[in-house]
């Protein structure tokens, strides 16, 4: 049976890579006494998928993983046994039977808390950002051509609170913006550069599963 596991990755564990996170979950499940189903490929792989990769260093309060077990334990039992086996920095939030298509194919948006240094007028910057038609930043990557991203096209819900910027970022067919790009674009409206202290992913938003969709 396939389960959807919601979990937090905090503290030092946020420095694990996407692959290391997957492996950590897998080995915790095995220690908890569950067998993860194997794919029917030439080189069988455990059937597990995280809804969205998490960049190294980003804390998350709501990671989503779909994992197929060879058994169908009650969710309460699964939650308890898995919780006991997760290493430092991981916390299980929920384990439920997965309904609808895989979470990875249904991610509509991501919410972040972007903790920033209070060294600039964020309220004014957010106001200007929201009033602008576009907010373009340049994305650089090694061995790739620079890319211009209109952050405004992906992020229109943003506010500044006591902990930092709270932003909802859309994932669309045209792509998405990264949280640090959002902070850069917002600060740029008042000619400033942000100092980012920490990125916290607070929610992964899925598209509704059609009613009656197979699990």
């Amino acid at each position: 049976m396939t389960y959807r596991i919601t979990f937090a990755v905090r503290d030092r564990a946020r420095f694990l890579s996407h692959l290391e996170t997957v492996d950590t979950l897998l080995s915790a499940l095995r220690r908890a006494g569950y067998q993860v189903a194997l794919s029917r490929a030439m080189r069988p792989r455990p059937v597990i998928a995280l809804a969205l990769p998490r960049a190294v260093g980003v804390q998350s309060e709501a990671e989503l993983a779909d994992v197929e077990l060879t058994s169908d334990p009650a969710t309460a039992e699964l939650s308890q046994r898995l919780s006991e086996q997760l290493p430092a920095g991981f916390e299980l939030i929920a384990a439920e039977p997965a309904v609808g298509k895989p979470a990875a194919s249904r991610v509509r948006g991501v919410s972040y808390l972007i903790e920033v240094a209070d060294d600039l007028d964020w309220d004014q910057a957010v106001e200007r950002y929201l009033a602008a038609d576009a907010a373009v930043v340049t994305r650089t990557a090694p061995k790739k051509a620079d890319k211009r991203i209109d952050v405004r096209a992906f992020c229109t819900r943003i506010s500044h609170g006591p902990d930092g910027l709270v932003a909802d970022i859309d994932l669309t067919e045209a792509g998405t913006a990264r949280p640090e790009e959002v902070a850069t674009a917002v600060a740029a409206t008042i000619g400033a550069t942000p100092t980012i202290i920490r990125l916290v992913r607070t929610e992964i938003v899925l598209r509704e599963a059609p009613v009656g969709a197979p699990t």
Binding site: D11, S27, R30, G57, Q85, P87, A88
Partner: protein, 584 residues
């Protein structure tokens, strides 16, 4: 708010490659922040190499088993991290609690390979501990070395307060007692002096004995090793089924250093293996030893484990070349597509010289058995540059590659042959300890010949980096002056020498030159029978007379039998409770 050091570390981790190397927190890590005595255990290489070391996992459990002690792990930070730490003033810290290594009671560094020596200095320097033992004060940790390369302490002697020789399980308890019972560094050093398996360089070259764990087959090893993050080179459970090997291959350091043979009964192996799988979550179990197919109970262990865990991925490190081990490996593990054989030398003459007691027929039937068992990839290990090697031996490796391909074609199906040749490096405490390494240009010519002569269809050839082999040769039988070279090279930028992309060859050449010598001169140096060797004071148990006799036998091209089956040849290792302990 996190302490300042933690904040600084976190900030740096945002900027480096693979930050998971430095965070700890893995399943089965032990955290005892309140313990009165703190021991840092260091493998002086990257996390993914060090975490896979079984001996250090055993020691970690051993130290943590004491209530008043905490063992915490530390590895050599990758250069990007080391540079960032220096820039930010972050001292080397342990993984478990991020405490500065300079504040622990004892820092144990395992010496598994000569090519980690420059990293030893890097670790000490990052920890803020004076590089030279003589410059350390009362508040500095006692820095102690262990591991197989400690068997020739001379090249790194000035950097350590003490060396522990041999197997830790029983004898290291005395070291922990010394740390526990004396309140200060000087008092602890005085207690360490009295331990027979401890060598203290500042007291001169006194005799020191290798510690041997006599209860190996009686006690079960700890079963909850730390589970590394996925980047580790080995991610599997492992049970050591046997310690020691008496096959007596004349190039082999382990074949002396872990004598005699001690086996664990199959039921213990099965229980320990299953328990470890349960608490680690691995889906693979390896039955480890120097030569697992020699383990008397190997079939019983495999069958017992398969019965209790039918879907398990079982692996045997296969080094012996015989149809028996091939069939065993196939029986243990149906999922694997590749198999490794280690004939080491391709001609009978050379196998007699090195005392590898296998025949051409055995090799060929092992190859055939491997292909018939369905393995599609066959890997074979060899050495070049062995003593008294002629062109025939090198040609023999090429011929054997071709022969393996012929056998593969005759059996049919898709397959590939992978021929791997390393460069022979003479090691202390072996019958070849007197031999020099082959000169660099000769090895280069042999490598070039093999590249030309070995067909490429269905055969892959891999050859070891000559530059690092020569350095290994220059360090392994080094003396006091070698220590100066190591320090100069490290000051010149050498670190992570085993990583070809990191290797600073020039820094080493410059360092040797400043000591009026050369890397190649040191590596190719041949000792005379009557020479005092830098490691003579280290008593492995195996006598120098025996090694010398074996050296002569090698010159006569005569192999010696294995005392496990063919009777004792008086190597000197056995006395009292120390003897070959087979399960049947």
């Amino acid at each position: 708010m996190a302490p300042l050091l933690d904040q600084k570390i976190e900030a740096v981790l945002e900027t480096v490659q693979k930050p998971s190397r430095y965070i700890g927190g893995e399943a089965n890590q032990v955290r005892k922040p309140q313990a009165a005595r703190l021991v840092a255990l260091c493998y002086p290489d990257a996390y993914e190499i060090g975490i896979s070391n079984q001996a250090l996992q055993i020691l970690y459990a051993q130290v943590n088993a004491r209530e008043s002690f905490a063992a915490e792990r530390v590895y050599c930070p990758w250069p990007d991290m080391a540079d960032a730490m220096r820039a930010e003033g972050i001292p080397l810290f342990t993984l478990e609690t991020w405490r500065p290594v300079g504040e622990v009671d004892m820092l144990g560094i395992t010496l598994q390979a000569e090519l980690t020596y420059s990293n030893v200095l890097e670790v000490l320097d990052l920890a803020g501990i004076p590089i030279r033992a003589g410059e350390r004060g009362g508040s500095d940790p006692i820095v102690i070395a262990g591991g197989p390369s400690a068997s020739n302490p001379a090249p790194v002697a000035p950097f350590f307060d003490a060396f522990f020789m041999g197997e830790s399980e029983e004898a290291f308890e005395a070291v922990l007692d010394a740390i526990d019972s004396a309140p200060d560094r000087a008092g602890r050093m005085r207690l360490l002096e009295q331990i027979p398996s401890i060598y203290i360089p500042s007291l001169g070259r006194r005799p020191v004995e290798r510690a041997i764990y006599t209860e190996f087959g009686i006690e079960t090893q700890p079963t909850a090793p730390v589970v590394p993050y996925s980047s580790a080179i080995f991610s599997r459970a492992s049970v050591e089924v046997m310690r020691g090997c008496t096959r007596g291959c004349r190039f082999c350091h382990a074949g002396t250093w872990y004598r005699p043979v001690r086996e664990r009964p199959a039921d213990q192996v099965i229980e320990a293996g299953l328990a470890q799988l349960g608490c680690t979550g691995y889906d693979e179990l390896s039955l480890t030893s120097l030569a697992t197919s020699d383990y008397t109970d190997v079939v019983a262990a495999i069958e017992g484990i398969k019965q209790r865990a039918p879907d398990l991925h079982l692996s045997l490190p296969s080094n012996r070349v015989d149809t028996g081990p091939v069939a065993l490996t196939a029986a243990a593990n149906a999922r694997q597509s590749s198999i490794t054989l280690a004939p080491e030398a391709a001609t009978q003459r050379m196998r007699d010289i090195i005392c590898k007691t296998i025949t051409d027929e055995m090799i060929e039937s092992a190859i055939e058995a491997a292909f018939r068992a369905g393995y599609s990839s066959l890997k074979m290990y060899f050495m070049i540059g062995l003593p008294r090697e002629t062109h025939d031996e090198v040609q023999g490796i090429v011929d054997l590659g071709i022969r393996a391909r012929e056998i593969g074609r005759a059996v049919g199906g898709r397959f590939s042959v992978h021929m791997s040749a390393s460069n022979f490096v003479p090691k202390p405490h072996t019958p070849f300890q007197w031999e020099g390494m082959a000169p660099r240009d000769q090895l280069a010519a042999k490598q070039a010949y093999m590249r030309r002569a070995m067909p490429t269809r269905q055969i892959r050839l891999s050859l070891h980096d000559l530059r690092t082999s020569m350095l290994e040769g220059a360090l392994s039988r080094g003396d006091d002056r070698t220590a100066e070279v190591i320090e100069l090279a490290w000051r010149g930028g050498a670190r992570f020498d085993a990583w070809t992309e990191m290797f600073q060859e020039q820094a080493w050449h410059d360092a040797f030159a400043r000591m009026d010598t050369t890397m190649d001169g040191q590596a190719t140096h041949e000792f005379g029978e009557w020479d005092e060797l830098p490691w003579d004071h280290v008593r492995s148990g195996v006598t120098k007379e025996f090694l010398l006799d074996e050296w002569w036998q090698s010159k006569a091209e005569v192999a010696t039998g294995d005392c496990r089956w063919d009777g004792c040849v008086d190597c000197g290792a056995c006395f009292g409770p120390v003897r070959n302990l087979l399960v049947h």
